[in-house]
């Protein structure tokens, strides 16, 4: 087992502060089954994180460009290489095992990208958006089990003829079906630097990848016309999504600490809200937040929000806890909130922005670290322990 550096981090959770309580926004007041928590609620537990394994390139494997990460029930780690279009598997202790899939257009191969890397049961799922294909690998022998072409009956759905040509995201549900996210935004007569709202449509796909029912439609982000119409997420954020082990859908708006919960059929169930203090967005704070200079130089041309996004990332762990990254005044860090499914606070801790948390599973937290000198990335595993206050 690799034992390079063992670092024990004991993270002291925040207590009360003297911040002003923000009023509930008007738009939330008519929301049914809304639970409003105090932003200054005390943590129930502390969290400690102990670094114990690293997954990176070695003499055996050279990673071109690190993409998404997945972990199976045995603790094996799968890292997508979006440059070479392959997936690498690692033993729990960091030892390289083998390569899964390869570049190409055949079964088990990837031609455009590898995204939505997910584990369900004893299978690894990986989506290739260009050809709209899902590769399913058996984890017992790492061999391709099935390749599914998605949405071949798309032309039967008039609404989908107006969305972008490719499926944006593909989520695997526990019931042998899938949820595909289609997106669209207005494209007529756009002005330079104009913002447009992106609409996301969630459709259920059956076992064979055919589209069946639409379950959700929502505004998922703003994009700005910079020739390519892109989401400037440092400024606007975007809707964060996650699925519980019971396939409940969680959507979080980034402009408020508001999380909505939907049934697997897309029926709204409940929501919770924390009235967090927002951080002003200005050129100075954008520089502090290390927003790319090409975006900072265009700030005066774009109709920007007054505040940074409140929420930046959301993960649902295998015990259905929500891990949510919030913006704080120190632009080098996020304050991560760990919540029960109901929204009740378990604990909070600070974590560097440049070490994003990828997933939490089997009692471990997996983060991505980048070597500032050579740009090489590695996945680092921490053992997570919660203790009663």
């Amino acid at each position: 087992m690799r034992k390079s550096v063992f670092l024990i981090l004991i993270l002291i959770t925040k207590g009360c502060s003297s911040q002003q309580i923000e009023p509930i926004p008007q738009k939330l007041q008519e929301l049914e089954n809304l639970t409003v928590y105090s932003a200054h609620v005390k943590s129930k537990k502390t969290i400690s994180l102990q670094k114990d394994a690293v997954y990176s390139e070695s003499g055996e494997v050279l990673i071109g460009r690190m993409g998404e990460v997945a972990v199976d029930s045995l603790g094996r780690v799968y890292i997508a290489d979006i440059g070479k279009k392959v997936i690498y598997s690692f033993a729990p202790d960091g030892q390289y095992i083998n390569q899964v899939g390869k570049y190409g257009r055949g079964p088990g191969e990837f031609s455009s990208y590898i995204k939505n890397l997910q584990i369900h049961g004893n299978r690894l799922y990986a989506f290739d958006p260009g050809p709209s294909r899902l590769n399913i690998f058996a984890l017992n022998n790492m061999v391709i089990e099935k390749t599914i072409s998605l949405g071949q009956n798309r032309s039967n759905y008039h609404e989908l003829t107006k969305t972008f040509p490719l499926i944006r995201n593909l989520f695997v549900t526990g019931g042998g079906t899938y949820i595909a996210e289609f997106v669209s935004h207005p494209t007529k007569d756009l002005q330079k630097y104009q913002n447009v709202d992106v609409t996301s449509l969630y459709y259920v796909l059956d076992y064979d990848g055919n589209i069946s029912d639409k379950i959700l439609e929502f505004t998922s982000e703003k994009r700005t016309n910079l020739l390519l119409v892109r989401n400037l997420k440092d400024f606007f954020g975007h809707v964060l999504h996650g699925f519980s082990s019971q396939n409940q859908i969680f959507l979080a708006q980034s402009e408020d600490f508001l999380v909505k919960k939907y049934s697997p059929n897309g029926d709204y169930q409940s929501a919770f809200y924390y009235p967090l203090e927002k951080i002003s967005l200005s050129k100075e704070t954008a520089v502090e937040a290390k927003v790319h200079e090409s975006h900072i130089s265009k700030m005066h041309l774009i109709d920007l929000p007054e505040h940074f996004p409140v929420l930046n990332d959301m993960i649902i762990d295998d015990e259905n806890r929500l891990w949510i990254a919030t913006t704080v005044e120190d632009m080098g860090i996020y304050e991560w909130w760990v919540l029960e499914e109901s929204g009740e606070l378990i604990t909070r801790f600070y974590w560097p922005r440049n070490e994003p948390i990828e997933l939490v599973k089997n009692g471990y937290m997996y983060t991505r670290q980048t070597d500032e000198e050579n740009g090489l990335q590695q996945v680092v595993r921490y053992w997570v322990e919660f203790q009663e206050m």
Binding site: S112, Y113, P129, F164, P165, R168, T187, L226, L227, L228
Partner: protein, 72 residues
Amino acid sequence: MSVLFKAGQILGRSEMKKIIAGSDGGNVYCMIGGSQHYCDNESLVLCLDGCVAIEDTHGEECGGCAQFPEVN
């Protein structure tokens, strides 16, 4: 497009791209970081240059651009 298929004609970069995309006119989308983005220009070359520039400056992979029939 058929004018591009004259026997023996050597095709330029942009002409090749038009053939790959399969249509004249329409909406151009570029793949950046595994997601499609609309390009507010009909020139595939210009859109591709913008896509590659994003890869160079922001480190997000440009997976190329293609033209699709206009739907809006």
